[in-house]
């Protein structure tokens, strides 16, 4: 039997209408453009919430496949992105629940990448700072890591965070506040530790 892949190519009634284009299931070109825009951010998110780079590699592939297979229609780019991160969040939680998490092994930047961060930041301080952050993040709960990363690393709005992690918008503010306070406390502790 010939396998049918659920990739629909529908003709746009209004050419150039980006809103309509976003509402269509993905063709190859759309997918590749979307992937190029989101893959690095998604990998960063997964590697930081799981604390495992290798697991993040696997989860990125799985996330895109699930997203593709769902064939969902999205109103706009933001909605599409939120759906992708929502799938990633659920996969990350499942993986950690299964005990696949092997501990924090957030890689420290090499000299080149560290220098690329900012010319005014001292490399050693950056590396040390990232090591401290990795340790502090590891002490948060997975859902707290999700919240702080989405809010402060990716700059997601409270509404986007609520969509991605599956909580009410009203709860995001207080949950985020608690997670941030905890992380700040851990960071202070890590930095004061010789």
């Amino acid at each position: 039997m010939a396998a049918t892949v659920a990739m629909h190519e529908t003709t746009l009634t209004a050419a150039g209408d980006t809103a309509a284009a976003a509402a269509l299931p993905m063709d190859e070109e759309t997918f590749r453009a979307f992937y190029d825009r989101t893959a690095r951010g998604l990998w960063s998110y997964l590697s930081r919430i799981t604390g495992d780079r290798q697991l993040a590699d696997d989860l990125v592939q799985e996330t895109y496949y699930r997203f593709f297979r769902a064939g969902a229609v999205h109103a706009d780019e933001n909605h599409r992105r939120n759906s992708l991160f929502q799938i990633a969040t659920n996969l990350g939680r499942d993986a950690m629940r299964r005990g696949r998490r092997r501990g924090t092994d957030v890689a420290l930047p090499d000299e080149e990448s560290a220098a690329a961060l900012t010319v005014t930041t001292d490399i050693a301080a950056t590396i040390a700072g990232r090591a401290d952050l990795a340790k502090a993040m590891a002490r948060l709960t997975p859902s707290q890591r999700e919240l702080v990363w989405l809010a402060y690393a990716q700059g997601a709005s409270h509404q986007d965070i609520a969509d991605i992690v599956g909580v009410k918008v009203g709860s995001v503010k207080s949950l985020l506040f608690r997670a941030r306070r905890k992380l700040a406390g851990f960071l202070g502790g890590e930095r004061s530790t010789p």
């Binding site: 590749r32 951010g41 930047p109 952050l133």
Partner: protein, 166 residues
């Protein structure tokens, strides 16, 4: 207790811009020194912003073309597996139904033989000879059973083509 400073939004924008010490100025620095909530925000947001930039730079993501190809391949394999599962299920159900029907027919046939035997004896005693030979009905039982079994054997094939079109 949640005590969020009203200047957090502004502060967060400045931190995200990556130059909060330059943009913020003296006034903002004094505020951060005095406000615990804003101090925490700056500590956390700055650390995460730096780490995010580094993670984006380091992310070992495969090229989009390769990911697309892998997804297509996996989707085809899954579709094939799903189709095979459907066909196998239909065949198993059909075979089970066929066997059940065959057993039912054989049972009925055995009952009919004994009934016909009784009827034949009755007719031989009470009816004329040409009427008594009406047991020809029993001769049709085997072809009938074969026809029914053939239908059940062909049913999976018909169902397969019906589902294959979908």
């Amino acid at each position: 207790m949640t005590t969020v400073c009203e200047r957090e939004e502004l502060l967060l924008e400045v931190v995200r811009a990556g130059r909060w010490t330059q943009i913020g100025g003296e006034e903002l620095s004094s505020h951060i020194a005095a406000c615990t909530s804003c101090a925490e925000l700056v500590a956390v947001a700055s650390a995460l912003a730096v780490d995010h930039q580094a993670a984006l730079h380091d992310a070992p993501v495969p090229p989009s073309g390769l990911v697309w190809w892998r997804m297509q391949k996996r989707a085809r394999e899954e579709a094939l597996r799903a189709a095979n599962r459907t066909v196998t299920t239909i065949q198993a159900v059909s075979i089970a139904a066929g066997v059940a029907i065959a057993l039912l027919i054989l049972g009925t046939f055995a009952d009919m033989q004994s009934l016909l035997h009784g009827a034949k004896e009755f007719m031989t005693i009470h009816l004329p000879a040409h009427v008594a030979s009406g047991s020809a009905m029993s001769q049709w039982s085997v072809p009938l059973a074969l026809a029914v079994l053939t239908c059940f054997a062909l049913a999976p094939v018909a169902l397969y083509f019906a589902f294959a079109r979908d």
